[in-house]
Structure formats: C-alpha cells, structure tokens
C-alpha cells in the first residue's frame, strides 16, 4: 500500500489524483513543523490560529531549554527554570490542541511532485505542503574510541545532574570553555580531583573570575593543549587517554567520570541535500521571511544562520516563519 502512488504514471499526476493517493497512504498536512522548542511551538501556535492543518514532529518537547537551570530573560517570566518553562509551553500547546508527535526522529525529507514533501521518520511517513524546520542545536558528542560505549557509564553530558554521583572520585572535564569551566566548578564540590582538558594554550571565555578560581583550586589540574584520544574501562569508565596537540605526548589518567562540554552543533543532518546550509551546518534563511533555499521549506530559531541564538528571538522567528508559510499556503 505504501508504494501505491508509485504505480501511477506521470500522466496521472494531476493535483487531485495525487492528493487522493497520498491521503490513502500517508497522513497529509498543510504544514509540518520539525522541532518543539520556542521556535517550533511558537510557529505551531501561529499556524493553528490561522486554521492551518499542522503537525509537530520532535525528538524532545522543549528543545534546548531543558538544559537551562534558570531563565531570567524571557519577557513576563523574570525567573523560571527551563523545565518549568517547558511545562508552561506544554500547557499553551494543550490549549490550542496542537498535534505533536514526540520521540520522533527525522530520517529524510523528500520533495515530491505537486509541491508536496514527504517526511520519513521512525514513527512513519508524513506528507505536507510546507515545512518549518526548527530542530535547533544539540550538544556535540565526544567522538573518540570508547565514547559511545561508556556513554552514561561514567561519561556524562550534564554536570549539574551527575556531579553529586562522583563524590571523592577522580573525574575529567573535556572542553574548557564557559560551560566546561562551570562543570569543573560544580565538580569541585564533590570530586576528589578534577582534570580539565583544554585544547587551547590557556583558558578562554567570558568569566575571568571563574578562570582564576579554577587555576588556584588545588583539586583542579588543567591540561592546556591536550585533546582526548580514547576512553578506557570495563563496565564503567576507568581512564582517559589524551594527546598534546603540539609535541604529541600521550598521557593516561585514571578517572571514574568524564564530563563532556565541547559545544553544540545545528541538528541539520537530515537537511544536507534539501536546503542550503552554511559552513557551520546552519540553515541559510532570508532573514526577513525565514524562507530557505527551497520553496515550501522555512526555518526558524537556533538551526538558522541568524545572529543571536536566544530563546525569545527563536520564539519570534517561529512566528515569522509561520506567517510566511501561511502566505505561501494561501497560494497553493
């Protein structure tokens, strides 16, 4: 049944025939929004208020906000945790009865005939006349031998969550930017020893005071110019191997925990052949209209090449994209 439309010859592809076939085999929407962070949910609310038949597909509700311990710059909410803000978004989405499929992984977007798009996911295929991509950014995963094997088994991407589990243990932090420094500082409350791996010659980042505090803390040992090459262990992490990026010296230290803070990357893998991306992997958009290089696909929020990656900006960008999509759909 799923391939029934493929049995049609090209002469059958007038708008109505195709439309009926798609309806028989796939779920057809006017608009599919990928992602449910501030950009995606804001776009969805604008869309449903315009009576656009909309579906939201997302791997996680709320997006990156989940990692924000406290939000203080979202208008009207002077002090709220990321997770409480997500609950507010959920209530807002519920009010407008948004159709949302969570834990959904996007595999492929294919442009079809008659200006339709097919989105293949692990939950099945969906079709839409227009798409707004708001899949944001995700943390960059450690990519060395052992990293996948020991993920959750000593390797953590959340120092706030897991630091208390390493009381009196030796740990390493990979990545010495602001987030890495913050992780080290949190760990000083629990761990016996913290090794900080910094790929640059000195600590960088905005918080000079923090850098001074870490340098003078006797629990902290900073390895400048070193990069990880392997994680070793049995059931759990036992050691980290790292290499000097100048003279190539290799060191191995015994650790029970490894905290990874090496930045984030746009979640745009599934878009590579579909729309224009810049060298960072961000979706290039018309900054006025949120149109991408492909008609019918729009993008908003942190996945795009806009200048500032901020929650409130993402929400506004989502609204902009929905209004442009509405104009586009009116002509379809």
């Amino acid at each position: 049944m799923a391939n029934k439309k493929n049995t049609l010859t090209s002469k059958h592809f007038n708008k109505n025939v195709f439309y009926i076939c798609v309806l028989k085999n796939k779920m057809l929407y006017d608009l599919i929004i990928i992602g449910a962070g501030p950009a995606g949910l804001s776009a969805a609310i604008y869309a449903v208020r315009k009576k656009i038949k909309t579906l939201v597909l997302t791997d996680s509700f709320g997006g990156q906000i989940v990692d924000a311990p406290m939000v203080e710059n979202y208008l009207g909410l002077p002090e709220i945790s990321g997770l409480d803000l997500i609950e507010k978004f959920r209530a807002h989405a519920k009010k407008f009865a948004l159709e949302i499929k969570e834990n959904c992984e996007i595999q492929k977007i294919s442009p079809m005939s008659n200006d339709l798009f097919e989105i293949e996911t692990d939950l099945g295929s969906f079709s839409a006349k227009a798409i707004i991509v708001t899949s944001g950014k995700k943390y960059r995963e450690l990519d060395v031998p052992g990293a996948k094997e020991f993920d959750g088994k000593g390797i953590s991407y959340c120092a706030t969550c897991d630091a208390p589990l390493f009381k009196n243990k030796n740990v390493a932090v990979i990545g010495a930017g602001d987030a890495g420094q913050d992780a080290v500082w949190q760990l000083t409350q629990y761990a016996a020893k913290i090794y900080l791996l910094n790929k640059y010659p000195d600590l960088r980042g905005a918080n000079i005071q923090m850098q001074e505090k870490l340098k003078s803390n006797e629990k902290v040992e900073i390895y400048n110019n070193y990069e990880p090459i392997e994680v070793k262990g049995d059931k759990f992490v036992k050691a980290l191997v790292f290499k000097h990026n100048g003279h190539g010296e290799i060191k191995e230290i015994a650790v029970n925990g490894i905290f990874v803070e090496i930045g984030s990357v746009p979640a745009s893998k599934f878009l590579a052949d579909i729309v224009k991306l810049n060298e960072k992997g961000e979706v290039v958009i018309d900054q006025k209209t949120n149109e991408t290089s492909r008609p019918g696909i729009f993008a908003a929020g942190d996945i795009t090449d806009i200048a500032h990656k901020q929650m409130i900006i993402a929400a506004g960008e989502g609204a902009k994209a929905a209004l442009t999509a509405w104009e586009y759909l009116k002509n379809k």
Binding site: V66, N103, G152, S156, C161, L165
Partner: protein, 77 residues
C-alpha cells in the same frame, strides 16, 4: 512500588518528582548523592550512572522519559 533515584541538583529529577506528585502517584525518593549504597543500587538496577532513574515495579527507566512513564503508570496526560 515506585522508586525515584535522583540528586538534588538535577532539574530533570525535580521535574520528574513534581510530575508524579501532580499526578497523585506515590513514590519513594532516594537521594543517591547522600548514600553510597543507594547509588550502587541505582547503578546495579540501571547499568549506568545518570540520574534520574525511576523503578516502576521492576521496570527501570533512565531519564525523565515522560511518554514511557505515562504509559507504564497509565496516567491520563
């Protein structure tokens, strides 16, 4: 029996416990940062070292997987 293993600093844990409380689900909260034996129990059950972990009558879920928890507890969401 429902047991939630957590740390005080983990926002996912706080939200999970708040969610269960709001839904009227009774559970035992275990702060694994306070007791080595509790931490080991969590690691043995889940085979990993992240929090939160929820044990619902022997079914162990790592992280605040809202959909799975709703399904297992038959919560109307």
């Amino acid at each position: 029996m429902i047991k939630v293993y957590s740390t005080p600093t983990c926002t996912y844990c706080v939200t999970l416990k708040k969610f269960l409380t709001e839904k009227g689900i009774k559970f035992e909260a275990v702060d694994v940062s306070q007791n080595e034996a509790d931490l080991q129990e969590m690691v043995d059950k889940s085979g990993q070292m992240g929090v939160p972990v929820i044990d619902i009558d022997g079914q162990v879920i790592v992280g605040f997987n809202r959909n799975k928890i709703v399904e297992l507890l038959n919560i109307k969401d």
